[in-house]
Symmetry: C2
Subunit: 451 residues, 2 copies
Amino acid sequence: MAEHSNEEKRSRLSAALSSGAMGQARRMLNGGLPQVDVAHLLEATPPKEREILWGLIDEELRGDVLQYLSEDLQSDFIGRMNAEEVLAATTNLDLDDLVDLLQRLPDAVIGEVLQSMDAQDRHRIELAMAYPEDTAGGIMNTDTITVRPDITLDVVLRYLRWHDQLPDSTDALLVVSRRDDFIGRLPINKLLVADPNITVREVMETDCLKLQATLEDTEVAKLFEKFDLISAPVVDDDNRLLGRVTIDDVVDIIREDAEHTVMSMAGLDEEEDTFSPALKTSRRRAVWLGINLLTAFLASSVIGLFEGTIQQITALAVLMPIVASMGGIGGSQTLTVMIRGIALGHVSGSNLRWLLRRELIAGAINGLIWAVVVAVIAIIWFQDIKLGWIIGTAIIINLLIAALTGTLLPVLLKKMHIDPALSGSVILTTVTDVIGFMAFLGLATMFYLAH
Amino acid sequence: MAEHSNEEKRSRLSAALSSGAMGQARRMLNGGLPQVDVAHLLEATPPKEREILWGLIDEELRGDVLQYLSEDLQSDFIGRMNAEEVLAATTNLDLDDLVDLLQRLPDAVIGEVLQSMDAQDRHRIELAMAYPEDTAGGIMNTDTITVRPDITLDVVLRYLRWHDQLPDSTDALLVVSRRDDFIGRLPINKLLVADPNITVREVMETDCLKLQATLEDTEVAKLFEKFDLISAPVVDDDNRLLGRVTIDDVVDIIREDAEHTVMSMAGLDEEEDTFSPALKTSRRRAVWLGINLLTAFLASSVIGLFEGTIQQITALAVLMPIVASMGGIGGSQTLTVMIRGIALGHVSGSNLRWLLRRELIAGAINGLIWAVVVAVIAIIWFQDIKLGWIIGTAIIINLLIAALTGTLLPVLLKKMHIDPALSGSVILTTVTDVIGFMAFLGLATMFYLAH
């Protein structure tokens, strides 16, 4: 219901904007719509109209909107604000969201913002900014509620009632020693059902997961998925409690991680603004086109080696893209399965040999089937049996090489700490193009010259 | 810490297995390792060894392991069990996980399993199975704790203490009328801080999100992400409370949805077992190779139209893959950005024109830049200025067509309810291959014949 009426409000806002009813639009942007919807609206709006929208949002609400925007847009908007404006916009933010935003600012402005905060807030922010953005420490919140192990649950319940509200995603209180050493967690659900007269120590869980502050965020996400967590404590090297990571941030990481794979396969950045201007867009994409151009020239130079053969038998020029294309498709199927297998932790040294054998067999089977089909078509088309043998053999060779490359390449890239999703398919198709042209034109040169 | 020692246990298990210490391996599989780790181990093991592992797991623990397996493996194992074994394996499962498993069984076995359950369980399962697997009703759990609006919080707290434990991910109690109509939710966090003497009605949230049972699971996931939810109530058309969806299931959906995009781009199924046998693998992939072969022949037949020109100027055969490849890369960049934009809800009728213009401008800029580069190289390589003009023009044409196709194709496919991630790139590269060869060879025929 709530969602439905937001949809309605959003279209009313669009109507107000296009009809020039700015007063009404301003009211809707400042309280009429949830901030997350305002952020979504900004993301879904081309630059010029986006500027107008942003100008209509009250200064003190801008921080709330900013936290829901993609990095690209955050940098864009926040980069134009001075320290005072940043401070006005961010007073109501959660610590982890504030830290995220601060990291988009130039150092000088960060310093100014920190200066104008009270000592405790400054200390907490400096603590969180000490860890890279993509670690447990970088995504943690410090809004933990901690208790000591030797008080009774009744005392805990009365202590909680002192709060106006508990932080979001509080599914457990964290039990610490006098020195802030992490001891265990007291799940709210246990607190509610246990006898109020027993102590925290008797109910708390000590064999629970704790995250080292330096743990990578994708590893954090895997642990949350595996153990169905809502929140998890973050500790430093000395087991001192620093804060906690909550599921809402983990969901964002999972989503970003997935987008990263899809976008980097096309040489794109997952934080890219859908409506970034043409010049910026073309600059970002030019690099990828350039890299692919290099590999295309490599393939061309292979063809160049066989110009003489092509001049004699032009059918080769007609059919050669088929050999390269079949290798590329087969190889990227293997590559995709391997990249996923590695990401899921299924691939290890002990089963790599099994996978390679499976891929080679599957490549051989599909190679044989489609080699026969292509050979028959080629023979009928060009009335040349030799051509059929040659293209069939070339397809089998290329599908086997594709299986080999698709299996081993991502493992190799991973070992070299290169993202296989980004560079894997470029390298793979270069290999299948080169091998495809080489095998097909090479075999043709051998057999037609021997004639 | 807990995680660390599991890693250790897992390698100890592998060692036990390979050294033939079956007793030790059996102990580790049945209680020594968490079930989620046993499931992961099965996923990461080739078929033959997997059979051995499965045989070592106690019958009554198999259900717990099954729930963590991918669909492919679930079907494989559960398909071989009879109703009695299924029942023995699944007694401890959550309702939603049990329903998931049942859906992999033949109808006759489902009937037998349902027969042997008590009436209440049977009723609840039939209720959940009434909704498709990929809807809110299909993923919901019925383990809700409900309260009436006019009792005091003190009564609620005492009522909760009657439970041994609360269901996982219980962040709120659900408030219902005598007829089970959904009225609102009582967040646990409010229950803990509010005065125990006031009534549920005074604290409950009525303006909260409720999910229609027929809502698609990907829409459910979007709402959870947007509002940072831990759980949400599911209601039927009459606003009667049916159950609730919890964040752990939503995380799975987000992950599967992301995998689906990546896998379908290579014509693969996201539920595919990493270690499925060679024959099964090659059968699944053959279809995709066949579809791509069709499009490759289409491109070939375009080249075939220009055999005469190629025979006179073999440089055309050497350079033609470059034109096709640049179009393919440029087009898939546009396609990827558009598919993501559509998934995020950024693309609408009102801004599609802006996006098309942006893509055409970006395509023209990159077309111009790389056309010049390729032309210069072609001129130097083949000592032929005309060839430079021809290939440059062909590249610009192909990048513009790629931008046009990449922008409009996914919108069109979406309108026709076809998944753009699955068929988008095949259609796109067919277009850029055909247009690339046509433009390059066509221009060459025109200009060399005019000579």
